[in-house]
């Protein structure tokens, strides 16, 4: 059997490669047959001419026979494809406008598709750059009320000891280190990690070694592992760096290893140091330290096994908590494991999927549009096609030719689309939008390009299908008589335009929702004027500033100097800067003095911040009641914000009331306006990426301590400086930094940003989504408008005669024009209904991108159809005008 196939393949191959010879042989064979027949006819008594004529007649048309023989050799397939392509190219030259419109619209749509797909590919699909990265998991615990995702060090120890499905578990936390630097000190992004950390990732150090288990724990030695980029750019690729001593946090610290290029976890980390977790203390789960946990799954562990293990661990870890935590705090407690990659992608995932859907819709519109244009051409070509059918061309063959033409028409657009995508990707990488900041540079790779090619061909076939099928159903008689199937294509074309309009409306509604969401967010009342504010962070080294008093004195000294700078009316320090995107203090649970004490789990919670007395004045936060802090306030006076007052003392005057957590009762002396917390969307961010679920504008109650009489606090050493300026805040950066160096020349500042830059960054995802969907909706509307224009023009041309008769009967031009516009409005109305229904189903997929707007926002759903109808009316003005100017004499003489 196999030999037979080989033989057949050989023969086919011969037919293909030695075309000329095969053709010659075929000719000779047929000539031989005709000659033989002629001779026989002569023998039967015919004259030579008669004999030959009879032989030929009997044989039939020689060429047709050779055609059939060629067909049998499957040669025609290839032959005719080449022919069709040539024919298509000739057609393109005859009708360059169509070719240009096709190339242009496809270039944009396929370019957009390729761009989105390359983003999806880079962000979602490409695995993390670690061996067997699919087995890396991120582990958290659902804890508290309302439940938040957070991991504590106790979980890490329990997991390391008990887990049966993870081969290794590691805990880490982000931090910063003060590096004495070369010329001036720098605050460097660092991580504290357990010794298992690098082994979880499975990446070997480029030089030296990584941490060993003996280096874990509170007595961890002063050693550090460096990142490739730090070693390269800051230490000049020093080949003898292992064993070298760096001054970190003013202490000598020995370099023990350098990680290879590309090891970047947690992101931007330049140094990894041992984690000083006290195992015995953390296992008691009283003074819990918040950590982050990553783990590597053992090979061949199924999803079900992982789930079962998580359930088991949930039960066993819940039992480890002391009794005080029972109740609401542990009510929703669960141990969760999520693939690390999905965790790192975060909230971009649903957004990217929604964008992919949207961009496919744009391509759909482009296809429908081109199908429409080709249908128009098919009508003008139906006589040609009918003639070919009458001459014996197979219908299948004609369908194939029409499809070939549309694919050929699509190819330049596809190629140009790659160009557009390259431009877009380069642009994205150049003006890196903040949302893509965390990801590697977007690149167009082979799979993406292959996808583009496939998309192009598919597109060609898709928009060629309608004209091809029309051609297949063509009635020869009708077409030759010139009646054509114009009515039928008119109906198809109207249907296609309706589809186009409906899909555009869906995109328009999507863009409308995002725009509303963006505006809601951008117009969020921050609670303070964001202009002319400069912020920067200063993390003090614990060994140099061991006490709260020393720490606060440092900030006071700096602020005193900064306030003397020209153009600086006010300056303050605070543990939390609004919109810094950092996790604030976790909520503090407290009792209200005078109310019966509640069990721990039911106590009210509030976020606290420590500020200098000038904070409210500097920020521009208004006082609502009572008084501001003054220099004599003790550690037991606090100020609260309005949401605190409303939540804790509804309908009462909070001034003079007391709350009590640990230690002395705290007395409220003033109420200030509420401000946004570390993100725009809420008072305090839920430490997980589901901002879509946080109730709009629900601000966490907040209270302020004054740093006048400082309590020892880990947060006092990590304050931010806030400087109000009269001019451009960026101009003050150098001067402020100099004042910090003047107080302590070893103390760097970092995270220097104006408040407006922070506001900008908070809006980045929304701006990005809005920009992209907005561009898509715009493209869609333009394409749809072109479609409406095309169809209405066609209808006007087709009905010239009818219009002529109407005008001859006395119809006013305005009436005729109105007729055309009314027809297109009817189309738009149909489309609006379909589009609204489609949007009603689809907008739920953009839910995660929306803030403060319902997915079925009535305003957007009400306004968008009118925008669509307006565009449609505008697009049909041209044809309407032409209809109004139809000269009845001309029209009736036509044909």
């Amino acid at each position: 059997m196999f030999r037979r196939w080989m033989e057949i393949a050989r023969l086919r191959f011969r037919s293909l490669t030695r075309r000329q010879q095969v053709e010659r042989e075929l000719d000779r064979e047929i000539r031989f047959h005709v000659d033989q027949q002629t001779e026989e006819n002569i023998a039967a008594g015919m004259t030579p001419e008669e004999a030959r004529y009879a032989a030929l007649r009997e044989f039939g048309r020689v060429t047709q026979r050779s055609e059939e023989c060629r067909d049998r050799r499957r040669l025609n397939m290839l032959d005719s494809v080449v022919q069709d392509i040539r024919y298509a190219l000739r057609g393109m030259r005859r009708d360059p406008m169509l070719a240009v419109v096709a190339a242009f619209s496809l270039a944009i749509c396929i370019g957009a598709n390729t761009t989105i797909f390359s983003i999806v590919d880079t962000v979602l699909l490409r695995p993390l750059p670690y061996p067997d990265a699919g087995r890396l998991y991120w582990i958290t615990e659902l804890l508290g009320r309302p439940p938040v995702e957070v991991a504590v060090a106790g979980d890490y120890f329990s997991l390391s000891e008990e887990s049966r499905v993870f081969s290794r578990v590691a805990a880490y936390d982000n931090t910063t280190l003060n590096w004495a630097g070369v010329e001036k000190p720098e605050q460097v992004d660092a991580a504290q990690v357990t010794s298992s950390f690098f082994r979880v990732f499975g990446t070997a150090p480029r030089m030296g070694r990584y941490l060993t288990p003996s280096e874990d724990g509170p007595q961890s030695p002063s050693v550090v592992v460096l990142s490739y980029s730090f070693w390269r750019t800051r230490l000049g690729s020093d080949a003898h760096v292992i064993g070298r001593t760096l001054t970190l946090d003013r202490q000598p610290c020995t370099v023990i290893g350098v990680m290879p290029q590309g090891f970047d976890y947690p992101q931007n980390t330049q140094m990894w140091r041992p984690y000083d977790l006290d195992e015995a203390e953390q296992k008691q789960r009283m003074r819990m330290r918040i950590v982050q946990i990553v783990a590597r799954l053992k090979p061949r562990v199924s999803e079900a096994q992982l789930d079962a293990e998580m359930n088991r661990l949930t039960a066993s870890i819940r039992a480890e908590y002391p009794k005080e935590f029972n109740g609401a705090f542990l009510a929703h407690m669960r141990i969760l494991a999520a693939p690390l990659q999905r965790r790192m992608i975060g909230d971009l995932r649903p957004a990217l999927l929604a964008l992919t859907g949207a961009v496919s819709l744009v391509l759909l519109i482009a296809c429908v549009n081109l199908a429409n244009l080709l249908l128009a051409r098919a009508v003008s070509r139906q006589r040609e096609l009918a003639v070919r059918l009458a001459l014996g061309s197979a219908r299948g063959r004609i369908v194939r030719q029409v499809l070939t033409e549309s694919v050929v028409l699509a190819l330049p657009g596809g190629l140009a689309g790659v160009g557009v995508a390259l431009l877009a990707v380069t642009g994205l990488n150049f003006w890196k939008p903040l949302v893509l900041d965390r990801y590697p540079a977007i690149s167009l790779d082979i799979p993406t390009l292959a996808l583009t090619l496939g998309l192009t061909v598919l597109t060609g076939i898709a928009f060629g299908l309608a004209p091809a099928l029309t051609a297949a159903r063509l009635s020869i008689q009708d077409a030759l008589k010139g009646e054509g199937r114009a009515i039928s294509t008119a109906r198809v074309r109207k249907l296609l335009v309706t589809v186009e309009l409906a899909v555009s409306l869906m995109l328009l509604i999507g863009a409308g929702l995002l725009a509303r969401s963006f505006l809601t967010l951008a117009r969020t009342d921050l609670g303070f004027p964001p202009g002319n504010l400069l912020t920067m962070r200063v993390n003090l080294v614990p060994s140099q500033y061991p006490t709260g008093v020393r720490q606060v004195r440092f900030y006071e000294d700096v602020l005193a100097r900064v306030r003397l700078l020209p153009g600086v009316p006010a300056a303050a320090s605070a543990t939390d800067v609004p919109l810094d995107g950092l996790q604030p203090w976790t909520g503090m649970a407290f009792d209200i003095v005078g109310h019966p004490p509640l069990p721990r789990a039911q106590r009210p919670q509030a976020a606290g911040a420590v500020v200098s007395p000038g904070f409210f004045h500097t920020m521009g936060i208004p006082l609502r009641r009572g008084r501001f802090f003054d220099a004599h306030d003790s550690a037991t006076t606090i100020m609260v914000d309005e949401s605190f007052a409303h939540a804790i003392f509804p309908g009462e005057d909070p001034i003079g009331r007391q709350i009590k957590a640990a230690g002395d009762p705290l007395t409220i002396v003033g109420v200030v306006g509420s401000v946004r917390g570390s993100t725009l969307t809420g008072g305090s961010p839920v430490p997980q990426n589901n901002r879509g679920n946080s109730p709009t504008g629900a601000l966490m109650p907040r209270f302020y301590h004054c740093d006048c009489t400082p309590q020892p606090s880990p947060f006092l050493g990590r304050m931010a400086l806030i400087v109000r300026t009269t001019g451009d805040p960026r101009a003050a950066i150098r001067a402020v930094e100099d004042q910090v160096f003047a107080v302590d020349r070893n103390q760097p500042v970092f995270d220097v940003k104006t408040m407006e830059e922070r506001l900008d960054a908070s809006l980045a995802p929304e701006r990005f989504h809005l920009l992209i969907i907005g561009v898509f909706a715009l493209i869609a509307m333009v394409l749809a408008a072109v479609g409406v224009y095309g169809v209405m023009s066609y209808l006007v041309t087709w009905r010239t005669r009818e219009i002529g008769i109407r005008v001859a009967m006395g119809a006013q031009p305005a009436v005729v024009a109105r007729l055309v516009v009314a027809e297109s409005v009817a189309l738009a109305a149909f489309a609006a209904v379909a589009g609204l229904a489609g949007a009603w189903v689809l907008t739920r997929y953009v839910k995660s991108m929306l803030y403060g707007v319902s997915t079925l926002d009535p305003a957007t759903f009400a306004i968008a159809p009118f925008a669509l109808i307006a565009v449609v009316v505008a697009a049909s003005f041209g044809p309407a005008w032409r209809a109004a100017r139809v000269d009845p004499m001309e029209a009736l003489r036509h044909d």
């Binding site: 033989e7 057949i8 023969l11 086919r12 042989e25 064979e29 027949q37 009997e58 059939e68 050799r73």
Partner: protein, 109 residues
């Protein structure tokens, strides 16, 4: 442009294979032979003969060769290949079964 039905096409294939099973023949001779043996009942139109020959050749059941005829002209001679012979046998067997079956049906009805 109706294509010959499977029965007709299959029958023509069978006739061709059978005709060249004794000795290689060129196309004209195959047509003549079929006409002759069937006493002019079966007229092979040349329009279906040559496509059939080319198809059979592509399937590897027959092979072709340019040879001189007795009149001294070059002609393309077709001969049965080994798979072709097997194909002929199976088609013959099938044909016999079919004609028997048809005979039975005709006789009983």
């Amino acid at each position: 442009m109706s294509r010959p039905s499977d029965l007709i096409q299959g029958t023509l294939d069978l006739l061709i294979l059978k005709t060249i099973s004794l000795e290689p023949k060129h196309g004209w001779a195959i047509a003549k032979r079929i006409q002759l043996v069937s006493e002019d009942v079966l007229q092979v139109t040349q329009g279906s003969l040559y496509p059939a020959l080319h198809r059979l050749e592509q399937q590897g059941w027959i092979a072709s060769e340019w040879k001189e005829t007795e009149t001294g002209r070059e002609a393309k001679f077709y001969s049965l290949t080994r798979p072709g012979r097997r194909q002929l046998e199976s088609e013959l067997a099938q044909w016999e079964r079919l004609s028997q079956a048809i005979g039975l049906v005709i006789r009983t009805v």
